[in-house]
């Protein structure tokens, strides 16, 4: 279990935040950042480790959100049960879209486009189907009991999403060290070479996509429970697909800590921009966008890249184990 200690340390540190501050503003901020980190981690497995850039993680996020919401409202299923089924449903959608796209040999931009298309198709279906509440959306009934996965305080929500992020990071760390992870990186670096060496590239990518989708769906389930309201634009809209890829790209693509770092930085940046601009509506988003462009232009490997560059400069030699993970 090499490398799990830093993850546990980070999670433990973050877990103490509610003991330090009782501000729900801070907690709400962190919950949103962690949610993005979680969905970003899902994207990171497929995009960062597997080199398959998805533009449509909303398809999985939304499926998770809708399944848990619809099961509760239409079929009276317990929220925790709905949560588990939602994750499974996301994985199924991931496996299906993966099967369709990988078996047809779609790569690069084509893969990105087809994932985007899947998310859009699902968005449109969700906006017209009666079971999802069509365009009106689905409202989960307010029922502030832990059994119903609803809490009076923000703190349990915070700990749950933090635990989910922690689990996803440990999972990522385990995958890094596993045979499956090695295959995945091999496929990313050179799919033809990997195939020549006997790696079943399609199967590896499909596996990555299924896990990736399940993680994104977990984020969707959490969103539904946290806000208790979803509609097609929220669940399957492009915003979450973009946030999901933004966090790992800013934080450091293909690294365990990338999505978390990226999500925290991106969200903080957005908030700082908002504080600086005060009353002028929208100006914060302009500044935010500008800063993001600068960050990406000067730190193409993300924050994790800067950190490893600094370490390299300090030690003069690349530390072992860093190769191939940047």
């Amino acid at each position: 279990m090499k490398g799990v200690a830093p993850i546990l340390a980070t999670v433990t540190l973050l877990a103490t935040v509610p003991l330090i501050t009782s501000s729900n503003v801070v907690l709400n901020f962190l919950v949103m950042a962690l949610l993005i980190a979680l969905v970003g981690q899902g994207w990171n497995l497929l995009g960062g480790y597997g080199g398959q850039y998805s533009f449509g993680h909303a398809a999985f996020f939304g499926t998770g959100a809708y399944v848990t919401a619809v099961l509760q409202m239409q079929y009276g299923v317990n929220a925790w049960m709905g949560f588990v089924i939602g994750i499974a449903a996301g994985a199924v959608v991931g496996a299906l879209t993966g099967a369709v796209s990988f078996r047809s040999g779609l790569k690069g931009s084509y893969f990105a486009l087809i994932t985007l298309a899947f998310a859009e198709v699902l968005r449109i279906i969700a906006s017209v189907t009666p079971i999802t509440g069509a365009g009106v959306g689905t409202l989960i009934k307010l029922d502030l009991r832990p059994e119903a996965f609803q809490f009076q305080s923000r703190v349990p929500f915070y700990w749950i999403i933090l635990a989910m992020v922690g689990i996803s990071m440990i999972l990522m760390r385990l995958i890094e060290d596993s045979r499956f992870g090695a295959y995945l990186v091999a496929v990313r670096e050179n799919e033809d070479a990997a195939r020549a060496l006997g790696v079943d590239a399609t199967r590896v990518k499909l596996g990555a996509m299924t896990i990736s989708a399940a993680i994104a769906a977990a984020g969707g389930c959490f969103y539904a429970q946290y806000f208790l309201f979803i509609d097609a634009g929220i669940a399957y809209g492009p915003w979450i697909s973009i946030e999901a890829l933004l966090a790992p790209i800013i934080g450091g693509i293909g690294t365990v800590f990338g999505p978390l770092l990226g999500a925290l930085v991106v969200k903080t940046l957005g908030e700082l921009a908002k504080l600086m601009t005060g009353g002028a509506p929208g100006l914060d988003l302009v500044i935010y966008g500008g800063v993001l462009i600068v960050v990406v232009a000067f730190a193409p490997r993300g924050i994790a890249g800067i950190v490893s560059d600094m370490r390299r400069r300090f030690y003069r030699t690349p530390p072992p184990g860093e190769n191939g993970r940047g």
Partner: protein
């Protein structure tokens, strides 16, 4: 990671930055450091002032701020020793989670109540978060009926909801059509696909056939949509007697202009809560496209001198007198009245005062104010029509300023 794939990801990333920036919603804010002088009552003013709904949100903010200025200029809350109202502005960024984050901030800043939300989705999320803190929340526009049917004690809506609006709209449509010897038989509905448009389309689809209309097709579209050519081509192909649009401002204007460009001229355009149909901005900027459009919407009472005085004031500022302005203005007055009677910034007392409100100082042609489960029973929409360069009220008769022109005269 290879250099090549790195470049690709960066380029893709840059392309998506604009969207990303629009979608991003941050949350952290340092607790408000500024102490109010004396005992000002803080009131959260929440609107989507950036993003897809920014125009409506900004209009709403104008109305709310003006009302607060006037209340303060007139001596503030008298029962609290002339306490001033202090606005805590929030930008919901046109998303429910943006609205939710702002409510958290406002609660942290110690507001006594929140007014606003505008879009139904934002109102649903924001009022629910406010309910966690027993924080009174007055919905300014949000028309979805589930906003007030969830049993939230803190949530009040002064304006009418869907059910009432749709029923009034249909009753009036039948009357108008009967007066024109049933000129219209077929209908097409064009609606935006979030809570408001889709909910309305659903209602219309069940109720129109019961009233003798045939719905030829229902076309949903997302907000924002920037091209209506295909939608209008479909309308042209089906050639309905009546087109019913239900969407927000920008899309409404685009649809009407595209219909004008492609010379699609049904017997009538009758909208229910049309985003632009009763907007002076639309009428001024595109008078030809707007001509004879009918709408059932929030509207001020044209016979109320206060409403006309406010109209002049807003227009003198160079702004348009849209419904967001006087709805928010009225909601702030409603809240101020409740605070006045509660004689306290205590949230529970304000909620109690709102529950018993019989507020009359608003601008709309409503019946007596009475809240049942948070919904004002007196709230009612008004039918308007663009005639010449002005917007006239055609229903209800008590406040009407013109007779309906239907079917539209040929050009």
């Amino acid at each position: 990671m290879s250099r090549q794939s790195l470049n690709v990801s960066r380029r893709r990333f840059l392309q998506s930055t604009a969207l990303g920036a629009a979608a991003a919603a941050g949350v952290l804010q340092a607790p408000a450091v500024l102490r109010a002088q004396g005992a000002a009552v803080k009131v959260g003013v929440l609107h989507p002032v950036s993003g897809a709904l920014s125009y409506s949100g900004q209009q709403g903010r104008i109305g709310a701020q003006l009302a607060i200025e006037e209340i303060n200029a007139a001596g503030g809350i008298k029962s609290m020793g002339g306490a001033k109202i202090e606005a805590v502005l929030g930008d919901a960024q046109s998303t429910p989670d943006g609205g939710n984050a702002e409510v958290e901030k406002m609660n942290g800043a110690g507001v006594a109540a929140i007014v606003g939300g505008y879009a139904s989705g934002i109102c649903l999320a924001a009022s629910q978060t406010a309910a966690r803190y027993d924080l009174p929340y007055i919905v300014d526009v949000g028309v979805v009926d589930s906003i007030v049917s969830r049993g939230l004690k803190n949530t009040f809506r002064f304006g009418p909801g869907f059910g009432v609006i749709a029923k009034t709209a249909l009753d009036n449509l039948v009357t108008i059509n009967d007066q024109a010897n049933k000129a219209a038989k077929t209908v097409m509905i064009v609606h935006e696909d979030s809570a408001f448009g889709a909910g309305l389309a659903k209602l219309l689809n069940t109720q129109l056939p019961e009233r003798g209309f045939q719905v030829l097709e229902t076309i949903p579209h997302p907000t924002p949509t920037r091209d209506f050519n295909n939608v209008v081509l479909k309308i042209k192909a089906q050639n309905p007697d009546l087109v019913i649009p239900a969407n927000y401002y920008n899309e409404y204007v685009l649809l009407a202009r595209t219909m004008q460009q492609q010379r699609v001229r049904p017997k009538g355009i009758y909208s229910v809560l049309g985003g632009a149909a009763s907007s002076y901005k639309f009428v001024k900027e595109f008078p030809e496209a707007a001509q004879y459009i009918m709408d059932c919407n929030h509207w001020f009472d044209p016979k109320n001198p206060k409403a006309l005085a406010l109209k002049k004031k807003i227009e003198d500022k160079g702004e348009f007198y849209t419904y967001e302005v006087y709805m928010n203005y009225s909601c702030i007055l409603l809240l101020a009245d409740a605070i006045e009677r509660a004689a306290s910034a205590d949230r529970a007392k304000i909620i109690a005062a709102l529950e018993n409100s019989t507020f009359t100082g608003h601008m709309m042609p409503y019946g007596p104010t009475k809240f049942v489960n948070g919904q004002n029973q007196g709230a009612a929409p008004v039918n308007t029509q663009v005639i010449g360069n002005d917007i006239q009220v055609i229903f209800p008769a008590a406040v009407a300023s013109a007779k309906p022109v239907f079917p539209m005269p040929p050009v």
